[in-house]
Amino acid sequence: MYKNLDEQELAGRCSQRDEMAENELYRRYAARVYTLCKRYLGNEDDAKDLMLETLLQALDKIDQYTGEGSLYGWIRRIAINKAINHIKRHRWRMVPLDLWAHDSIPEPTEEETVAVPKEKMREWIYELPDLRRTVFNLYCIDGYSHKEIALMLGISETGSTSILAKARKQLKEKIQQYINEQDR
């Protein structure tokens, strides 16, 4: 019965502390929120804790969900805010010295990119320095603008652009390196 509830109804049931509805909310969104947390934080333990905190906070504040936009979109915002706070609080914003962000590495083609195993791609993103990974996630995956990123992270728009360029350069190098190794 709960599987057929739409988002608005599910939120309504959750606000009434319906345990079955809460379980359904977990079943629907836990994996997606966990994936999101993992790509922001880069490790499983922190991602698991953050996912739980996000879902628990979402259930506590489910009354504030007005029905505008998807329920997942609302939960995702909570998760992103929590992830950014976590990174800001626990991580030193130090990145390897790389003043020359402009790169001459050609853009990988669709075929080259698809040839890379998904696990490898995830691993490379998890390995990015905190700030680069956060900006890459916010801009390329979650669709935030540089202006929004600058506000969220407390950096300048130029800084956000520069950090993104470094993250892209690092990922392109990894892809290129993998392709070259496969060609040998």
Partner: protein
């Protein structure tokens, strides 16, 4: 043709199948037990309130007046004795001196002694018309049995002027707490008073009711004193209330050092007053990451005297000092729970009749100091 970034986006948005099964059990357990985020933030608040109440009770216990008269230092008033009048000291004895304060401790170690002239000399030669009164002649009326050839340490120990102690103290702890909560801006705006060495003429005289060499208001070049800024070290804990706010409390040891120079004695005498303080402060952490916290806060602190000595003579315990304070500091985090802090503090010491010893904080109610120590972070 898809861009490589779009392909990466698709990969990263795919749900991760590696979500452990036990996570759901943990989710249910935390949900059922109410161990949610709201509880997480309220629990430290309860701890902070409990700490504040405990600190308040401890302060009350320490503030209560001693039952036994021999506890602590006391100031008593004594009228000048007739021996004073037999001296032809029209240019020395102040005409308006009606009463004379003598700082006196009731314990044998801190009994005040007359300063320079043998009492016998005054008593035995009361009728000498040409008695030359020198600067070191005093009108101290201490009992003759306590007279001594050597000047007593207690005579130049730094008791604060009576006029300062006679001020009506109407600020109570409740008012102080309210002021502490909202008064950071006022504290920061306060001008700091420079610490300068003062001569006795500038500092304490009989006109002020001071007990510096009681019996004369002409101390001339007898000496000077200076107070040094206190040294403050502590063990502190910050209890997280919200993301940015935390209640900071703990224990702080303060050492107040004063240097006394007197021409009557060879060398200097150093006074040390030791305090153990309990600060309670609300801090706003505006920069925080793995290694570093930068914060500012306001609150109050109770300093309780552990003991005092001047050179090697014990002076007993002085009364407590309560201060409103504003601080801004930097904390280096060794781990998530442990850090080392350095914080400049501006504080205002509430006036009190119970404090007798003159220290840097009595001299400068508005006081600047730098505290350092180890801090435990709870709830982070």
């Amino acid at each position: 043709m898809k861009k490589w970034e779009d392909i990466v986006k698709d990969i990263m948005e795919e749900p991760d199948s590696a979500l452990p099964e036990c996570v759901f059990a943990e989710f249910r357990a935390r949900r059922a037990a109410g161990r949610d985020v709201t509880r997480k933030t309220t629990r430290p608040l309860i701890w902070a309130l409990a700490t504040a109440v405990a600190a308040g009770l401890a302060a009350l216990l320490l503030l209560r007046k001693p039952n036994a008269p021999e506890e602590g230092l006391q100031l008593i008033q004594q009228h000048p004795m007739l021996e004073v009048q037999v001296m032809d000291t029209s240019d020395v004895v102040p005409p308006d001196m009606s009463t004379l304060l003598i700082a006196q401790a009731t314990t044998p170690r801190t009994v005040r002694q007359p300063a320079t002239v043998k009492q016998e000399e005054i008593v035995n030669e009361p009728e000498q018309p040409d008695l030359q009164v020198t600067e070191d002649v005093v009108t101290d009326n201490a009992p003759s049995e306590s007279a001594d050839d050597e000047p007593s340490i207690a005579d130049y120990s730094p008791f604060i002027p009576q006029s300062a102690r006679d001020k009506n103290v109407k600020v109570n702890l409740g008012t102080g707490a309210v002021i502490a909560g909202g008064g950071l801006a006022a504290i920061l705006a306060t001008q700091l008073v420079k610490s300068n060495a003062r001569t006795p003429n500038q500092a304490l005289s009989l006109a002020d009711g001071g007990a510096f060499f009681p019996g004369t208001n002409n101390l001339g070049d007898l000496g000077s004193y200076s107070h040094r800024m206190p040294v403050i070290v502590g063990i502190s804990t910050r209890i997280r209330v919200t993301e940015k706010l935390g209640i900071t409390t703990g224990l702080e040891y303060s050492l107040y050092t004063s240097l006394y120079t007197n021409s009557l004695f060879s060398g200097n005498r150093t006074q040390h007053v030791h305090y153990l303080g309990v600060p309670v402060r609300l801090d706003w952490v505006f920069v925080s990451n793995k290694w570093l916290d930068i914060y500012a806060g306001a609150g109050m602190k109770g300093d309780f005297c552990l003991g005092a000595n001047i050179t090697e003579t014990e002076l007993g315990r002085d009364g407590p000092a309560f201060r409103l304070l504003g601080a801004s500091g930097i904390q280096f985090n060794a781990t998530s729970y442990l850090g080392i802090y350095v914080e400049p503090v501006i504080s205002w010491t509430l006036p009190s009749k119970r404090r007798v010893l003159s220290t840097y904080s009595n001299e400068h109610p508005w006081m600047f100091s730098v505290a350092a120590g180890v801090r435990f972070n709870l709830g982070y």
